[in-house]
């Protein structure tokens, strides 16, 4: 028996259909007016800062919704390249410095932003990590740099009358004194993760030995080698740290080192400025910071000023116009202030006068005025062809071996140089451009 379809049914159905149609068309209109931008990033702890920034931005541009969508730092590069090639990446891409982003630009995955309004507020030095080698095209808006140095437990230093070392020799004497005092591990550094002794060890103290950016340019041009005087001296200086590292430092991870320092078990943390906010939250003692101490013979000091993070535009983005509006905002003073205030230890790169309220961050920032700024040498080198081991990874492994006493400084430097020589073709023009760039450095 079939039910009769009455007139009432028809009317109800028609009404429902009409309602659905209206709802759908409304949703459609709404989507056209409102654009949602997604930011890809490796900065998993930064949601709070971005909430502030996006709220500020939406006061001016309420029609653009911005979503911050970070991936774990060690998975970011891989995940991003997979997403870009499958077309599922967000509109805005947080750019790693140098080769990785340059390759993405060459592959047409990042859009050219050379003409973006706002980019004129950045020096060539600031843009260098996200420009083609001739500095003609720029593809990411610089956001921040990080600085290297040493953070120490000020309460402990004051209690024992220890003072900040001025030279590398004084630094080693200080380490010896802390070891003799006995209540603390002198240096919170482990070699398990590899990058700790490379970024916070060699790249931190090294530039004072190899002459900063001049040394880096020499590497690029092929006039300097990792196993020549200046670089070898840096390896040698780092190898002196072994007796002052914690028990079982071979298996000590980076987060172990952080915990050792913030729980008051280690006196000095070879640091990047990105630690400042985290340490200020978790340490219950007063902290101070000193810059990488140059050897007594050096006439000039260098601070590793790593231009580290920038924001680019996914070339395949469907919302390019809205994304450019946001990128221009990122290039402005309001963003720079909010970003470096929200994340003490990340320093603004634009030509704006910005005062930081965090004293530790201000100490770090002061070094850029006293000393020459320099970049991590291994980051300046191109990546090897075909996905073989790059110099940075080679440094991770070999510096760990050196600090564990498995090989000498000379052997380490020789290995790095030999492996690099296998694929790296020095290019004098590349270094000439880099030298010109650095001459124009404002900091």
């Amino acid at each position: 028996m079939q039910k009769m379809i009455t007139r009432r049914h028809v009317i109800t159905l028609a009404a429902i259909a009409a309602l659905m149609f209206m709802a759908l068309s409304q949703a459609h209109v709404k989507a056209a007016a409102n654009v949602t931008l997604v930011i890809e990033s490796w900065r998993t702890g930064d949601e709070a800062v971005w909430d502030t920034i996006i709220a500020n931005f939406n006061k001016v541009h309420p029609e653009i919704t911005v979503k911050f969508q970070p991936t774990k730092p060690d998975q970011y590069n891989g995940a991003l390249s997979a997403k870009l090639s499958s077309g599922t990446a967000g509109d805005l891409i947080t750019c790693r410095p140098f080769t990785l982003s340059l390759n993405m630009f060459k592959a047409g995955q990042l859009a050219d932003l050379t003409k973006l309004p706002g980019l004129e507020n950045f020096s060539t030095f600031a843009k260098h990590a996200w420009s083609t080698l001739d500095d003609k095209s720029t593809f990411c808006v610089p956001m921040a740099s990080v600085l290297h140095g040493f953070i120490y437990n000020k309460d402990y230093f004051d209690a024992h009358g220890f003072t900040e070392p001025k030279t590398y020799e004084e630094f080693l004497t200080l380490l010896e004194k802390i070891k003799a005092e006995g209540s603390m591990t002198p240096l919170a550094l482990g070699v398990k993760d590899g990058w700790a002794e490379t970024s916070m060890g060699l790249d931190n103290i090294g530039p004072n030995f190899w002459g900063g950016q001049d040394g880096n340019n020499g590497l690029l041009a092929g006039t300097r080698q990792y196993n020549d005087k200046g670089f070898l001296a840096a390896f040698d200086a780092l190898s002196k740290w072994t007796p002052y590292l914690g028990k079982g430092f071979e298996a000590e991870t980076y987060s172990d080192s952080q915990n050792l320092f913030t729980s008051g078990k280690a006196a000095i943390f070879p640091a990047g400025s990105w630690e400042i906010s985290g340490f200020e939250q978790s340490a219950s003692f007063k902290m101070g910071a000193f810059k990488a101490p140059p050897p007594a013979s050096a006439s000039k000091c260098y601070v590793s000023n790593e231009i580290d993070i920038a924001l680019g535009l996914n070339a395949a983005s469907k919302n390019a116009d809205a994304a450019k509006t946001f990128l221009s905002y990122v290039a402005g003073q309001e963003f720079e202030t909010a970003y470096s205030q929200g994340l003490p230890g990340f320093f603004p790169l634009g030509n704006y006068k910005i005062t930081l309220s965090d004293p530790l961050a201000n100490t770090f920032l002061g070094w850029t005025q006293e000393c020459g700024s320099t970049l991590r040498s291994s980051y300046l080198l191109p990546s090897p062809p075909n996905g073989t081991t790059d110099v940075e990874t080679d440094l991770w492994n070999n510096l760990a071996l050196m600090l564990s006493g498995k090989q000498t400084a000379q052997q380490t430097a020789d290995t790095i140089q030999k492996n690099m020589a296998g694929w790296f073709k020095p290019d004098a023009s590349m270094s000439a451009t880099a030298a010109a760039t650095m001459a124009a450095t404002p900091k």
């Binding site: 090639s85 298996a251 291994s378 071996l401 564990s404």
Partner: protein, 310 residues
């Protein structure tokens, strides 16, 4: 009268097999074959694939930057596998024999406890063991000191000599429950008559085990062996979770899985290389296929013949 009609084609079997076969083809067979195909290609500057024949394999085995890593990873993988075969499976067999003993109280509790780590996430296992072995505050070093063995303390996960063994034993700890359950199932299936008859003939418990039980569960021993082989040569997650994608220290725990991961997805400043990655995956496939074929023809056939005779 005899029917000359042939049996109708069993269409219902096709219908029942179809969903599984379709899903398996779509999500397992097709990706596998496609990645094998990709290993014969290279990428040009714009990322488009270019057919290069066996060139990737020549690169992998012929250039020191590649072959050094490959042979190191393969060797580590064999060590990883050997430790599972020498520790995990014998221990599992011992536990299974004990747990199937007639007079044992709390059998279910032991079985559950020993099996429990298998159900844990590898990240938890890696994290817990890294904490236990941590040089700064791990309890393992305290235990050694308490036993008067303080002089043996090592940064277990940080030196080439111990890290691979330590990670392998973590994996053994996690997975020992699986072969144990398989062995238990096989042991329970042995008829009591055989064991009682042997007892009446005056056989000791040890003789019963070596002469009666072990020969009867040999097929299971073979299956456990081949499962261990396949699992170990596909292993990746525990090493990645505890030692990172580089297989620290200095590639001391680098196995084929981590080597593949690094190459395919890239690592830190090293850009990913999908075609070389799939080349490594293809070699892994060949190794695993070889092992499984060896098992099928070398072990299973012989067992089948032996059982056919008995």
């Amino acid at each position: 009268m005899q029917s000359t009609k042939r049996k109708p084609f069993p269409f219902h079997i096709v219908v029942f097999l179809f969903p599984a076969a379709a899903i398996y083809t779509l999500f397992m067979a097709y990706p596998l074959l496609d990645s094998l195909r990709l290993s014969f290609f290279d990428q040009n500057v714009s990322g488009a694939p270019v057919f290069v024949g066996f060139q990737n394999f020549q690169t992998l085995f012929g250039t020191p930057q590649w072959s050094g890593h490959f042979w190191n990873a393969l060797q580590n993988n064999f060590v990883f596998f050997s430790i599972h075969m020498l520790v995990q499976n014998p221990v599992a067999l011992l536990l299974a024999t004990l747990l199937t003993a007639k007079r044992l109280r709390g059998r279910a509790i032991y079985r559950t406890l020993i099996f429990a780590p298998t159900t844990l996430s590898v990240v938890i296992v890696g994290f817990v063991w890294s904490l236990i072995l941590n040089p700064s505050w791990g309890i393992f070093d305290n235990i050694l000191t308490g036993l008067g063995l303080g002089s043996l303390i090592q940064p277990w996960l940080g030196v080439p000599g111990t890290s691979l063994v330590a990670v392998s034993l973590m994996s053994v700890w996690q997975w020992v429950g699986l072969p144990m359950v398989l062995f238990m199932a096989a042991l329970v299936g042995i008829s009591d008559d055989l064991i009682e008859a042997a007892r009446v003939d005056g056989a000791s418990a040890f003789t019963v085990f070596t002469r009666i039980k072990l020969p009867l569960i040999l097929p299971t021993v073979g299956i456990v062996g081949v499962l261990t082989f396949v699992g170990n040569f596909n292993a990746f997650d525990l090493i990645y979770a505890t030692q990172g994608a580089l297989g620290a220290p200095n590639y001391g725990t680098d196995i084929l899985g981590t080597f593949f991961y690094r190459t395919f997805y890239g690592f830190q400043l090293q850009p990913g290389n999908p075609t070389m990655g799939t080349t490594i995956a293809a070699v892994m496939f060949v190794i695993i296929l070889g092992g499984v074929l060896l098992y099928l023809f070398g072990w299973q056939r012989r067992i089948a013949r032996m059982q056919g005779l008995s």
